[in-house]
């Protein structure tokens, strides 16, 4: 075989003390599609960002067509004929497709949009895209925007294409169209890397698969020689025992009954599709799924932050026995009903806490309205802050330190501590241990377990399957906004959950 189009040797990248990529080596030939497979947080995107010039590797080398390359900026990547299609599109909304495609280019020739249109339609014909180059981006569907991004890269003459989870936002039909295009590009001699965690797609599109796990390189297989089971095992790894103590749930009652929730984005994309489940008191319900499968919308719908189109969210009040529908209520209305709902959102400093405020003021976010009068009462939140700092061992110079200066783990302790202090009956936590070190993670696990033992209905959205299996009582798996299965955490395997996570259309009705 000839020299690889791109080859990585011993790439390591650290962010602070976290090793995002550890000694990774892989290569792609011209005329080949390589799938890069791995769970969330396994380091796929970080690795690709180093090829496209967004990050710079701490160690290791990148070879392009056999020559060592230093890629310091996205511009350099273009010079090396590398093009990356990010998950979040970088397009100017009020520009037409063609204007976006040609943006920032200077081929030294006279600028003429007609030439651009001509070349764009050439590219479209060659690879089978269907796009109206005159159409404005804001009028486009997600898949059209993605097409524009791909043409943009091809227009710049890219020979190496990297696609970061391109199918995450596409319907099955659109995915098929995309794959057709990718195959044509491969046949045209391009080297293509596609980041994904959908196994059936890996098997249908790629020539070879490289698997990453927790920032480490696991191995590369020829797609023809492997199958879903083998890939799942490589992806999720051997079961690791975490020794999280899990008590048997007792005194279980249905606390929150969610039935048939539907919810669409402003662009009309279905975010939640017929989601139904029950969260019970004294139990931890885990929610597993690929990032962006609707977890956030689900929790926000329950918390009164997301409008839903249909369905109901019934809360059984343990004190009064009254049943309330929380659908389309504001957070204040929900609280006025006597619903004690606590929510640890994924976006800690952008939603759960205010980074520029100190710990005491952040403690007040939920409770500042308490009491009569127009003035704030800082004594209680101050006491709460002191209590959380000592109970949860928050490392901080004092209660008057802005929370943005705390480390990730301490920020999370402050947030979780505050939410638990409200004595909730339902506690929702989205990725509460993301970015935390082992000790902080265990503090959070213990807190959740404690709440469960106090009879709280805990909903835990997580990404680490080992944690989900050891911490939760039941695990609900969602994929593409749908519930693909609810399993008993004591009798499941990572493989079972992994397969459910990647099942987006199987078993369910096709649109």
């Amino acid at each position: 075989m000839s020299t690889a189009a791109i080859e990585l040797k011993g790439i390591t990248k650290r962010f602070g003390s976290v090793v995002a990529n550890k000694n990774i080596s892989l290569s792609v030939q011209n005329g080949e599609i390589l799938s890069l497979l791995g769970e969330n947080g396994s380091g796929k995107t970080t690795l690709m960002n180093m090829i496209s010039g967004i990050y710079h590797p701490d160690e290791g080398q990148i070879f392009i067509n056999g020559q060592e390359a230093v890629i310091a900026s996205p511009h350099d990547a273009y010079d090396y004929k590398i093009g990356m299609i990010h998950q979040h599109f970088k397009l100017v909304d009020v520009f037409s497709a063609a204007e976006n495609i040609v943006l920032g280019m200077n081929d030294g020739k006279k600028f003429n949009m007609n030439d651009v249109y001509a070349r764009v339609s050439q590219i479209c014909e060659k690879y089978g895209f269907e796009i109206d180059a005159h159409k404005k981006i804001y009028q486009m569907s997600v898949s059209e925007k993605q097409t524009v991004e791909i043409i943009k890269v091809l227009y710049r003459g890219a020979d190496i294409l990297i696609l970061d989870e391109p199918t995450a936002v596409l319907t099955p039909q659109e995915t098929q169209t995309l794959f057709k295009v990718l195959r044509r590009m491969r046949d045209d001699g391009k080297a293509i890397i596609i980041i994904t965690h959908k196994l059936h797609e890996v098997l249908s599109i790629s020539d070879r698969v490289s698997v990453l796990r927790r920032g480490e390189y696991v191995g590369t297989l020829r797609t023809a020689d492997t199958n879903e089971i083998e890939l799942t095992e490589m992806m999720v790894g051997k079961k690791i025992s975490l020794n999280i103590e899990r008590s048997e749930p007792h005194d279980i009652k249905d606390r929150l009954v969610v039935s048939n929730i539907q919810c669409n984005s402003r662009e009309g994309v279905r975010l939640l599709d017929n989601v139904s489940f029950v969260a019970r008191s004294g139990e931890i319900l885990g929610i597993a799924g690929i990032a962006g499968s609707g977890q956030r919308e689900l929790l926000e719908a329950i918390a009164g932050l997301q409008h839903i189109d249909s369905g109901s969210i019934i809360y059984n009040n343990p004190k009064t026995g009254v049943q309330d529908n929380l659908r389309d209520k504001t957070p204040i209305q929900i609280r006025d009903l006597g619903v004690r709902l606590s929510f640890v959102p994924e976006d800690r400093l952008g939603m759960g806490l205010v980074g520029n405020m100190d710990i005491v003021d952040n403690m007040m976010l939920r409770s500042y309205r308490h009491g009569k009068g127009i003035f704030l009462k800082r004594a209680e939140p101050k006491a709460l802050a002191d209590k959380i700092i000592s109970d949860l061992q928050v490392v901080t110079p004092g209660t008057s330190t802005p929370v943005r200066r705390l480390s990730g783990g301490n920020v999370q302790k402050v947030l979780v501590g505050r939410e638990i202090a409200a004595a909730p009956t339902v506690l929702m936590a989205a990725y509460p241990v993301r970015g935390l070190d082992i000790n902080s993670s265990y503090t959070i696990y213990n807190l959740l377990n404690e709440q469960k033992e106090h009879g709280v209905a805990v909903i835990f959205v997580g990404e680490d399957l080992d944690v989900l299996i050891e911490l939760c009582d039941r695990i609900m798996v969602i994929g593409g906004g749908r519930v693909t299965g609810i399993v008993d955490a004591r009798n499941t395997t990572k493989e079972e959950i992994g397969l459910l996570m990647t099942k987006t259309d199987g078993g369910q009705t096709n649109e």
Binding site: E68, P331, G350, M357, M364
Partner: protein
């Protein structure tokens, strides 16, 4: 293949810093002011040939030299501070109210209208209360209009409030034309003889009441922003709308309420300027203070107490420069030049307070 492409890491990397101790950050600001003064000195020497030290001494005399000068300076300080306090809650909410000029003007206009039409028909106390209420209402309306559209359609508030200033100016011209039939377009002192609607002198000082009122507003605003529930809501909305929604704050309501407050204090400033200071209204009653206030508030980091200091700096510069203009036979506008230069330096120095500059060090791996 790409031998010619040179790849280097950038020479300077800028990163946010958050651990500058307070005295260091103030040191940076003092250095900036000193540098600005040095530059001003150079300009003064170039223009006048005078010794800049003498010029600066003259400036100090201009502000503090006599009792009268001191009172005028305090009065100017009070008015600028009052308007700065007015815009502060809006800014804290990240609502760019640059319409203070207009809000002050309509407040003053309302006061003047009451004075003009009521003459001495009302008992003094009722008169003052009516004037005050009218100017507060006028200021609130003027500020709520852009706030309403901001809340409803997210209409750009910077441009909206800016335009409202000139509508207010023309409105004042309009009423002056109506009130002064001769067409001289100068209002003259209202109720010169009866002094109806004039704020009383206390302890024989014309401006003392103004100053005391603004002092009270300063303390109230400090407490409001720091210790009240509403002030807390303003901070949360300003820092993160997402967080505000998460804890159930009605963001639109907060926008309207806060701008209402902002307009009310502007209205108050208009009232004080007309009833307490000038006893007349012109299109320049606000005298650009609505714009200067924006800088005062921003430089004072939206802290009512620090704003006393920043507005003092600006008023001192303007009074002092006015003095040297007279003394050294220069044009009064020299004040604006000096103010501008010092503002540039203070604005610029915030960068060095907030950011760290790292120069490229060492060698890269690989090559």
């Amino acid at each position: 293949m790409n031998e010619k492409i040179k790849h280097t890491e950038p020479l300077i990397r800028i990163s946010k810093r958050d651990d500058l101790v307070w005295w260091k950050s103030w040191l940076v600001r003092v250095i900036a002011v000193v540098l600005a003064l040095v530059l001003c000195s150079v300009i003064i020497i170039l223009i006048t040939g005078y010794n800049p030290i003498q010029v600066y001494l003259a400036m100090i005399r201009g502000s503090f030299g006599t009792n009268r000068k001191l009172w005028i300076m305090l009065q100017n300080l009070a008015m600028l501070l009052c308007i700065s306090l007015a815009v502060t809650p809006a800014f804290k909410m990240r609502f760019w109210n640059i319409g203070a000029e207009g809000q002050v003007l309509v407040g003053g206009l309302a006061t003047a209208a009451v004075m003009f039409y009521a003459k001495d028909s009302l008992p003094p106390f009722i008169m003052i209360i009516t004037m005050l209420a009218a100017s507060l209402a006028a200021g609130i309306i003027w500020a709520m209009i852009p706030a309403f559209f901001k809340a409803k359609w997210n209409t750009n508030e910077t441009l909206f409030t800016l335009m409202m200033n000139y509508v207010a100016t023309q409105l004042v011209s309009f009423f002056i034309m109506i009130w002064v039939p001769s067409g001289s377009s100068v209002m003259g002192i209202i109720n010169q003889d009866s002094q109806a609607g004039w704020l009383p002198e206390i302890f024989g000082q014309k401006y003392l009441l103004n100053i005391l009122i603004v002092a009270a507003v300063t303390i109230a605003m400090f407490i409001y922003l720091k210790y009240s529930k509403q002030g807390y809501e303003i901070s949360v909305v300003g820092e993160s709308e997402n967080t505000a929604k998460y804890i159930g704050i009605n963001v639109k309501k907060v926008i309207l309420r806060t701008m209402g407050l902002s307009g009310a204090i502007c209205g108050l400033a208009g009232f004080l300027l007309v009833s307490g200071t000038n006893h007349t209204i012109t299109t320049t009653t606000a005298g650009g203070m609505g714009f200067t206030a924006i800088m005062v508030s921003w430089l004072g980091k939206f802290n009512a107490v620090i704003m006393v200091l920043t507005s003092f700096i600006i008023v001192f510069l303007q009074r002092g420069a006015g003095e040297i203009a007279t003394k050294f036979n220069l044009n009064q506008s020299v004040a604006d030049i000096l103010t501008g230069i010092i503002l540039f330096f203070i604005i610029g120095c915030e960068f060095f307070v907030n950011y760290k500059i790292n120069f490229r060090t060492g060698h890269k791996e690989g090559k």
